[in-house]
Symmetry: C2
Subunit: 340 residues, 2 copies
Amino acid sequence: MAIVVPLSGDKNAAGPVSLDRLMGLVKDDLKAVNELIVKRMDSRVALIPTLASHLVAAGGKRLRPILTLASARLCNYRGDRHISLAACVEFIHTATLLHDDVVDESNLRRGNATANAVWGNQASVLVGDFLFARAFQLMTADGSLEVLRILSNASAVIAEGEVMQLVTTGDTETTEDAYLEVIAAKTAALFSAACRVGAAVAERPRVEADALESYGRNLGIAFQLVDDALDYSARQATLGKTVGDDFREGKITLPVLLSFRRGDEEERRFWRRVMEDGEQDEKDLATAQQLMRKHGALDGTIERARHYGAMARDALGIFPDSEVKQALIEAIDFSIGRAH
Amino acid sequence: MAIVVPLSGDKNAAGPVSLDRLMGLVKDDLKAVNELIVKRMDSRVALIPTLASHLVAAGGKRLRPILTLASARLCNYRGDRHISLAACVEFIHTATLLHDDVVDESNLRRGNATANAVWGNQASVLVGDFLFARAFQLMTADGSLEVLRILSNASAVIAEGEVMQLVTTGDTETTEDAYLEVIAAKTAALFSAACRVGAAVAERPRVEADALESYGRNLGIAFQLVDDALDYSARQATLGKTVGDDFREGKITLPVLLSFRRGDEEERRFWRRVMEDGEQDEKDLATAQQLMRKHGALDGTIERARHYGAMARDALGIFPDSEVKQALIEAIDFSIGRAH
C-alpha cells in the first residue's frame, strides 16, 4: 500500500550522524537517571509500575533527559541535582506520551503495543496523572523554584499545544505558522525546558540559560519536522514504526500543508476528502505520498528542519568549544539525519 | 426502575445542617478565588477556557477551596496568599473531575452534560492536563516549597487512589479496608491537603497543621461515604443527580460491600453477576436497593460516615472556640446530613 518516497541526500551533512558521542559523555549519569526512574515510578498500586515500566522499558533514546544532563555538563555543573531533574523531564515526557496515545487512539508505539492497547485508556490516563504528579514531587524535593517555574510553564504549554493540534485536526486551511505554533508547544517546549534546567542547576548567567533554551527549542522544532516527514517516508518502516499514522488520524503536518498549498484544485479536493471528511480508502495513502513527491513536500519539510537546526547550532556559539558542545551539535545532525 | 430507599433519621443531628455560615465567613475571599480561577484558566487556545468554564461554571459548592480559606482564617492568617492557593486546589480538583469523567465514561455531572460528552474524551484529557499544570504554575509563583510538597504529594496519592479504584472495579471480594484506602486516596487526600495548605500559609506550629490535615482527611472520608450511599438513595434524585451510576459502572462501594458480606449465597451470586460479570438488566438496580434495605447497608454506610465525622470534629479540639471553628464543624454535619 505505502510506496517509497525517496528523500534526496543531505548534501550539507558532514561528520558522524549519530548520538554516540553524546550518549558516551553522559553514560554514567544516564544510568543513574534510569535507576532513579525505576525507583520513583514504584507505587503500592502494582498496576502503576507495571504500566509505567512498559513505556519506560520500551526505551526511546531518552533524548530529553540526555539534553538536561549534557546541558548541565556544558555549564560545568559539578553536583548531582541534574540526575533527579533529568528524571522529572522524562516523567513529564512519559506522562504526555501516555495521554497522547489515548487521544490519538494509537495501538503501536515504536513497534510495540501502546499501554492503552494493553491496559486500556482508563489506566493510561490515570498513570499519566501519577507520573506527572511524581515529577512535581521530585522537583519539590530538589527545591529550586526556578526549575519548578521552567517545568510547570513547559507542562502548561505542552497541554496547550496538544489542544491546538486537536483543534486543527482535519483543517486543511491550517497555515504553516499555526502548524509551527503547535509543534513549538507540543514538542519544542519540553526540549527547551530540558536544556534550560541544565543551566539552572549550574546557576549560570541568564545569557547561557537563554542560549541553551534557544538550542533546545530549535532542536525540538527540527526534530518534530523530521518526525512529521518520516511518517510518510519509507525510511520510517526501517525504524520499526508504521507509515501513515498521521494521515489516518487526519493530522495536518507540514508535508500535508505544503502539498495542499502547492497543489491544484483537484488535489485540494483530495486533501479535503481524506483529511477534513476523513473518507479514506486503501489507495489514498499512496496517492498522498505521490502528491508529496510531486511537490517536493518531504524535502521541503526537511529543508525547513535544517533551518531550525542551523538556529540551534548558532545558539550554542557563545559557549567555548568542548567535546560536549560538539556532541550537542551532532545531536542536531542526528535529528535531521534520521530522514535519510 | 429505581425505588425509594429510606434512610432512617439522624437522631444525633443537632443545629443547622447547611454550609451557610461557612460560606458567609469566606464569601469575599471566595469571590476573589472565583475571579482568579476565571482569569487563570484563560489561554490563547479558545477551547481551553470554553471547556474549563463549562465545568467551573457548573459550580459545585467549591468545598475544597473553601476549606483552604476557612483553615487559613482559623489560623488567623492575615495575608492574601490563601486566595491563589485555594484556586490551585480547585484547579487540581477540576483536573481530576475531567479525567474521572473520561475514565468513568460519564455523560452527566450534577445534572449537566459532562465536558467529555460535549467536547469528547480527547479534549477532556488535555484540558485536565492543562489545569493541573496551571495549578503548579500558581503554586510556583506563590513560592512555598511546603505548599508544593503538600499538593504534589496529594496529586500523586489521588492518582494512586483512582488506579486502585479501577483495579477493584467489579471485585466483590474487596474488603472494607481496601475500599477505605481507595476513598482516603481519591477523595480525602485533597480535602486534607486543602486544609493543611491553610495552616501552611499562616506558618502555624506543626500540631495545628496536623490537626487541620486530620480534620480534612476524616471529613473527606465521611463526605465520600455519604456520596456512595446517596448513589443508591432516592434523596439523590432531589439533588439533581442520577441514581445508580456507581452500580452501572460496577464500582464496589461500601453499600455494595456491606450487602455482599451480610447477604446469603444466593444474594452473593446476584452481586457477582451484576458487578463482576457486568450482566445487568433493568430490574437489577431495584433488586440491589432492596437488598441494601434488607441489610441496612445504606444506614450502615452513614453510620460509618458519622464515625469519621466525629474524628474530624475532635481533630479541631485544640483550636479555641470561634465562629470559623463552629462553621467547620457545621460542614461536617452538612456533609453527613446530605443523606437525609
